[in-house]
């Protein structure tokens, strides 16, 4: 266990180094959130009855999404892992004394967390200060906030566990470009990265809410504002935990199978 903690620490501090990049990213993310809220506001003005959640819930959803972008966006892959698989340096990794799945899992977790730590506070502070109606509300209650934190970590776990499947898939395909893009587009859309799940047409929404993607950002961002609360929130968290376990088990089994037949190409 301590090996993985150390790995986590190294990756975490390493990612904290890129502060200027974080600052430039902040401006982009802030503008992005701002424009997105304005678009939803226009739809709200056009037809308030058709709006499927409280407007302030949507605003919170979008600000939190921008603040914690690094935790949930599927297209933040670890380039390094793909390179390892494609170039064959995987053979070095295999002789080292740790479980490859756990190592990659730690690495992704640490990088995502470090990026989010650098970026979330400034965005949250500004979002709390901008005028109504685009201001971020405080969480519905302290209990709700606690659930939000739990749900956020579970969501992060599901994101990483799912991206592990994408890494493992590239054992089989050699070039990872295709898998990478298709997985990212599909999961971002079904997780509610473009529009929150309540905005989906009802049939589509029912289906989407069963898939693992709904266990990613969808849960924590809606729990924060109280859009999902009480018993529903508990079930939501249970739903996330089950998907997390399923994805990890599938990932580990699949990786074992992939490693059995791995062919390191010479050169």
């Amino acid at each position: 266990m301590s090996t993985y903690v150390a790995l986590f620490r190294i990756r975490f501090t390493n990612s904290l180094q890129y502060r200027t990049a974080a600052l430039a990213g902040l401006i982009t993310q802030f503008a992005w959130g701002f424009m997105q809220i304005l678009a939803f506001l226009a739809f709200y003005r056009s037809n308030p009855q058709a709006f499927p959640m409280e407007f302030s819930d949507t605003v919170s959803y979008i600000w939190l999404q921008q603040a914690f972008l690094a935790l949930f966006m599927m297209w933040f892959y670890e380039r390094e892992i793909f390179d390892t698989i494609e170039s064959g340096t995987i053979s070095y990794e295999l002789v080292r004394p740790y479980e490859l799945y756990n190592r990659w899992f730690c690495q992704s977790l640490a990088n995502r967390l470090a990026r989010a730590v650098l970026r979330c506070l400034p965005i949250l502070i500004v979002a709390l200060l901008v005028p109504e109606p685009i201001r971020l509300r405080l969480p519905a209650s302290l209990g709700q906030f606690g659930l939000f934190i739990v749900s956020m970590f579970l969501g992060l776990g599901v994101v990483v566990a799912f991206s592990m499947l994408v890494y493992i898939a590239s054992f089989f395909t050699l070039s990872s470009t295709g898998n990478r893009i298709i997985a990212a587009v599909l999961s971002d859309f079904l997780a509610g990265a473009l529009i929150p799940l309540p905005f989906f047409p009802i049939g589509f929404r029912k289906l989407a809410e069963l898939l693992p993607f709904a266990a990613m950002q969808n849960m924590p961002l809606r729990i924060y504002s109280g859009n999902i609360s009480g018993r529903e929130a508990f079930y939501g968290i249970l739903f996330q935990a089950s998907w997390l376990i399923i994805l990890i088990v599938v990932g580990k089994l699949w990786q074992r199978q992939a490693l059995k037949q791995v062919v390191v190409q010479g050169g």
């Binding site: 982009t28 992005w32 304005l38 678009a39 226009a42 058709a50 470009t177 473009l194």
Partner: protein, 258 residues
């Protein structure tokens, strides 16, 4: 021009060498904007209209911006990668050749995988043009052409500014993405819906609305008059400061030495 065409063929040939990888990337580009399209559809399935614009009318915006952007990206890709050209010293080689620098950067890289987006824009146009309720006249057809052409020139000017910044910073500046990628993302709705302040900014500072929102009003007969019809042409004024900034950056250029 002849030389550019030669480069064009060379790039096309080299990218066609890796057909599988190429078609995957094209498919990826297509899917990315397809998910944006799907989200618009979901929104309109629920709301039916936004600020008086219907689904096909908004799609007209979406396709215009998408097409303008993908054309600019396909040919102006060299500027997107310009920071790398500076940091690895490639640009020093450009400077010693007896051709215009902009021409050389343009010819340095062309990315045909962006055709995935272009293809989508064409498909969306074929749906939106008859469905949007626009009564098409020759003037309006001309306007639509101007929207796409001038739009891609404005995006191109933004790429140029992005590249010019890297004369000073070496690194590319991520915040320029607000205008390039952001312009594409948020240009899927008429810029008028974002409120007056945003519209003013996008009219007078970064003239994205000039090739999207105002001519759209003309197409839909909400506004008449040459001013709205010819709005895309005014957006070309943006090329002047962009070019001036590029020249200024070039005059301050110090090689990285690598």
């Amino acid at each position: 021009m002849q030389l550019y065409f030669k480069y064009f063929l060379l790039h096309l040939q080299s990218q066609m060498e890796y057909k599988v990888s190429f078609s995957f990337t094209v498919l990826g580009q297509f899917l990315v904007s397809f998910s944006a399209l799907l989200s618009i559809w979901f929104m309109f399935d629920r709301f039916h209209h936004v600020e008086g614009f219907t689904f096909p009318q908004v799609l007209l915006c979406f396709a215009t911006v998408l097409m303008a952007f993908s054309l600019a990206e396909c040919f102006g890709r060299g500027f997107d990668q310009f920071p790398r050209m500076i940091s690895n010293g490639e640009f020093d080689r450009v400077l010693v050749r007896p051709r215009n620098e902009i021409f050389q950067v343009l010819a340095y890289k062309m990315d045909f995988t962006r055709l995935g987006r272009l293809l989508q824009a064409i498909i969306v146009f074929t749906y939106a043009i008859p469905q949007s309720g626009v009564i098409w006249t020759w003037n309006k057809i001309l306007t639509l052409f101007l929207m796409v052409i001038c739009g891609s020139l404005v995006f191109f000017a933004l790429f140029l500014i992005y590249a010019a910044f890297s004369f000073f910073t070496i690194e590319g500046l991520e915040f320029m993405n607000v205008f390039t990628d952001g312009g594409r993302e948020f240009g899927r709705y008429p810029f008028g819906i974002y409120g007056n302040e945003v519209l003013k900014f996008l009219t007078y500072v970064v003239p994205l609305a000039l090739f999207q929102y105002y001519p759209l009003l003309y197409l839909l007969d909400i506004e008449q008059g040459l001013k709205f019809m010819m709005a895309p042409v005014f957006s070309l004024l943006f090329l002047l400061p962009a070019y001036a900034f590029w020249r200024y950056g070039l005059s301050k250029y110090v090689s990285t030495g690598s």
